[in-house]
Symmetry: C2
Subunit: 596 residues, 2 copies
């Protein structure tokens, strides 16, 4: 199938005199999830991981992806005629070098400028200089006969009761951060930045409650570009009250190119496409990059205000209640002899339990329920068609999250089913130990995530094991569950952790073919104390879901962390029990009992 599509594509390339093509991956808004319309890489190759780019010449084709997807890509690309290029592995060529080696100077390379962030283009440019870059926006439209159209859905207003800040106040803070004396036009492509700024939420993207939209700001004005038909009366009222001008999604190009050229164009290079960049400067305007990692809006958005934080705390109670019911459901169900529990059914169950709350808006990412060896694949997702049943004598890992109108959750719990080995108990204790280490950290303001990462990873390292993903990602407020710019990982990231930032804390151990363990809470960075030395921060754990204490090896966890765990469980019971009845309450009482 893939081979046939590749032939179709090459035929179209020859017709247009194109020697190499970079197959678009992602959409013009550069979020984590995309609509079906933009899944050209999946259509062509069968690879459906969330990160991958393909380059095609008339003879060769290859897909670039990162370590999260090596196993999956290898399987899905088999027989496709598309090779696998392992990113960040020494010796792997970049796309540009790969193309350069295969083409003669002066040949034409097809790109879709609309789908290429300016920052990527800057990186590509060097090796692609000898070639002519040609726009191939419509090429896939030709070869992909059944390509889905871009869909657009209703946009809702998120009340100040949930956001805690008006649009005009956010606008004023952005303008202050831009700090530009003269006239400027600040260009925004990122849907979650737009949703945050305008206090709106959409449904155009799976899991990310955002509308497909553009926006442009000046010192005194805001213009929002949305799909026609999404402008309800409520939205219209909200936007006009906040003095936001509304224009059509397709009018963005004309607006930014025809805006007076003396106004400087400003945007984050990671979040603006080459196409929008070129269009906005077509009249001869000047461009200034927004140099803050992730851009100014992402940096403001990452620091949650008191209202948002209260909302998160409320969401955690609602989510914790669903988790308790889910965990007890799993336990009870596994007692039934002739009624095996499928991973897919379990995943559906927790979603249903969350939906008992009126504030629940949907899942925050594709749920992971993985038993035994499945849990060793960090990005395993059961599907209705392909999944396993929960067996015995191994770990069951559940990593799911909910979108609530007041906040977003993301929790992983690993529970022992039946008897587990001493090695499994040790590994479980080390992962939990790492998670608690990070949760207990205290540090001066100015500290970056890469400095704290070892706290979570250290216990895992001490056993000669490791996990290849980050320890912590930022989390949006009823927005993207993976939100920048802060992170807690081994790689240096200059963004410092600030009070108000919410990050995950999720160390893990994966034993391929055997088992996987991950413990994940969300933690809030808060000011702890201020003295002559510094202002110090600490974390407040937000997530309220009991841990399985049965596999914990007491001596290995140590007194300090046992105390933390007991205190945490006391709090979980205190906060959740008012919302639980009879059996669920009794179950939680037992599961949150002190260990000594």
């Amino acid at each position: 199938m893939a081979v046939y599509k590749l032939e179709l594509l090459r035929k179209a390339m020859i017709e247009r005199g194109i020697s190499a093509l970079v197959v678009p991956s992602g959409d013009p808004h550069f979020g984590e999830y995309i609509q079906a319309h933009y899944k050209c890489v999946e259509w062509l190759s069968g690879f459906n991981g969330s990160a991958g780019t393909i380059a095609v010449t008339l003879k060769d084709a290859a897909l670039w992806t990162d370590s999260r997807f090596f196993v999956q890509a290898e399987a899905q690309l088999a027989g496709s005629g598309i090779g696998l290029m392992k990113m960040k592995i020494p010796g792997t060529e970049g796309i540009d070098t790969w193309i350069k080696k295969r083409l003669k100077d002066g040949e034409r390379v097809g790109v879709v400028k609309e789908l290429l962030p300016l920052s990527d283009f800057n990186m590509l440019q060097q090796d692609l200089l000898p070639f002519e870059l040609v726009e191939t926006d419509d090429l896939f439209q030709t070869v992909w006969k059944s390509r889905p159209v871009v869909e657009s859905y209703r946009i809702n207003v998120l009340d100040d009761v949930y956001t805690g800040e008006s649009v005009s106040s956010k606008h004023a803070r952005i303008v202050a951060e831009i700090g530009e004396e003269g006239d400027f036009l600040y260009l925004i492509s990122s849907c979650d930045d737009i949703a945050w700024l305008f206090n709106i939420r959409g449904a155009d993207i799976e899991y990310n409650p955002v509308p497909l939209a553009y926006a442009a700001l000046t010192k005194n004005s805001m213009t929002l570009f949305i799909k026609t038909g999404t402008l309800t009366e409520e939205l219209n009222l909200h936007l006009s009250k906040e003095n936001v001008r509304v224009m059509g999604y397709d009018e963005f190009d004309t607006f930014i190119s025809s805006y007076p050229t003396y106004a400087i164009r400003i945007a984050s290079k990671e979040k603006i496409s080459l196409s929008k960049y070129e269009i906005s400067l077509s009249g001869g305007a000047l461009f200034k990059p927004d140099t803050r990692r992730g851009g100014i809006i992402a940096n403001l958005k990452a620091v949650k205000n008191e209202t948002e934080i209260s909302g998160f705390r409320k969401a955690m109670i609602l989510d914790g209640v669903a988790w308790v019911k889910y965990l007890r459901f799993v336990e009870e169900r596994l007692k039934e002899k002739n009624n095996p529990l499928g991973e897919w059914e379990a995943a559906a169950k927790i979603a249903l339990l969350r939906a008992e709350s009126d504030l629940y808006m949907g899942e925050s990412f594709a749920p992971i329920v993985a038993f035994g060896p499945n849990a060793a694949l960090p990005h395993y997702e059961p599907s209705e068609a392909v999944h396993s049943f929960v067996g015995n004598d191994n770990f069951l890992l559940t990593d799911t999250g909910g979108q609530y109108i007041c906040g977003t959750t993301d929790t992983t719990r690993t529970i022992a089913i039946g008897d587990i080995t001493e090695e499994q108990k040790r590994d479980y204790t080390l992962v939990l130990s790492g998670m608690i280490n990070l949760a207990m950290a205290r540090f001066p303001s100015g500290t970056r995530g890469a400095q704290l990462d070892i706290l979570a990873r250290g216990p895992v390292f001490s056993a000669g094991k490791m996990y290849m993903h980050g320890t912590g990602h930022g989390v949006g407020h009823y927005l993207c569950v993976h939100e920048g710019p802060q992170s807690i990982r081994m790689e240096e990231n200059p963004v410092v952790l600030k009070p108000g930032m919410i990050t995950s804390d999720e160390p893990a151990i994966y034993e391929e073919g055997r088992y996987g363990i991950r413990c994940e809470n969300l933690i809030l960075c808060k000011e702890w104390c201020k003295n002559k030395f510094a202002t110090f921060c600490e974390f407040e754990t937000l997530t309220l879901v009991p841990f399985d204490t049965r596999p914990v090896i007491r001596e290995l966890l140590g007194k300090e962390k046992i105390d933390w765990l007991n205190e945490y469980h006391k709090r979980v019971f205190r906060e959740l029990s008012p919302y639980l009845k009879n059996d669920d309450r009794e179950w939680l009482k037992i599961r949150t009992a002190d260990i000594d």
Copy 2:
């Protein structure tokens, strides 16, 4: 006095039509210590910290230094007419901006290109573009009447028995790292890089056993440029055996400018002066920077070979024996009622005790013996003229190190004299806890120092305290006690910790006006294990000096670290006791006894 010198300087500036002058700090080899000849900043301002640069205009003058020297600089600059510019503090202008604000375009700025590393110049350049930079090498020669001359001393050969690698082998490894196909000339200004490469040691610089020298390498040749008169018969034999050509120190400029221009010049921008850079390119040659942080040689030098590591282990025994005698001496002496112990006398005593070994070559840095409040100044050094006596009921901090022909040491111990407070005991325990945390770390290869720093700092942070200096610096092999390129500090440093690297481990707490605590061992990075996950490293503690266990709060240190401490003390006794007699041996037995 300083005001009068400033007037002399300004008179000379006016005579030459110079509106601003950057006062040279450092020497042309960019090491930590410099000869008296190069101490222009101290002559002019009275400030004698090891890092400081002055800019002078006809009206203003200011000194830039970092946080280590703020207190000292403030005191020493008082009444000098020279302001203090606190580096890395938000809002502090750089030298270039400061000058730019005070001058009109086209005015002349005096610099000494010989003393300006190319990397600094690149940074300066932007704001100084509107000005004419003029060479003022001889200006200080005119105003500083009693300026000392540059001294040069005998150069010794360091036998392969100590170095473990021949000059030609090192040359071959450097050439391989340079990886240049065509002809090149690799320029070396850094004296410790030269001493390492040529297996020589000198005495031109205090504490750093290096000669003032330059060197130039090609694929097949090595040329060493040294002061006339230092070439002994032994050195001549050694160098000719290794096919090293010897030329005069002053012949370096002619050599590098007259070397065929088709040969590319390569050097580390941090380690080559603007002057040498310009001279080497005067014939139209091409320049390629050595982009490895610290340069290729520093990176090779930092990884110690087995012979060097054995030498370090031997040096640690010799040093440990001196420390035991010193610590017992202090204890005994403090019992004498009418014979107070001066910090200066104590510092002299440990040097004398070290000198009992034939392999001892001198101190590796200016000794710090600091009682009570003095210890709260991280860079306090007692002098014969100005020092305190060791009193009662406070900590005595001793931070000293020795140069042995087989290795370099650097150790800090803090001991309780009389009664100390609960807060002091807690702080002492936290500092020791941090030091042990880092010493126990295990981590995959590829880990950087900034990732591990929190292990040492975390316990200090947990009490809402912090120290402003790094946790760990590299240490040379009978070379500079502060050696790059690796470090363990809060700031990101891309250099990864590799097996064979030796680093200090020295967390601290400083309570201004009250007390200071620092514990410091040297630790060696070693391979621990290799498995499907990664190759893991761990540290071997090299230093063999007992800690004062009396202030340790058991519950706070915790079982795991008490076990480490007891094991460490067993090893200290096992390794040192064969070299100790009677009372010293007995004392060590008691001081290294298990705590429970």
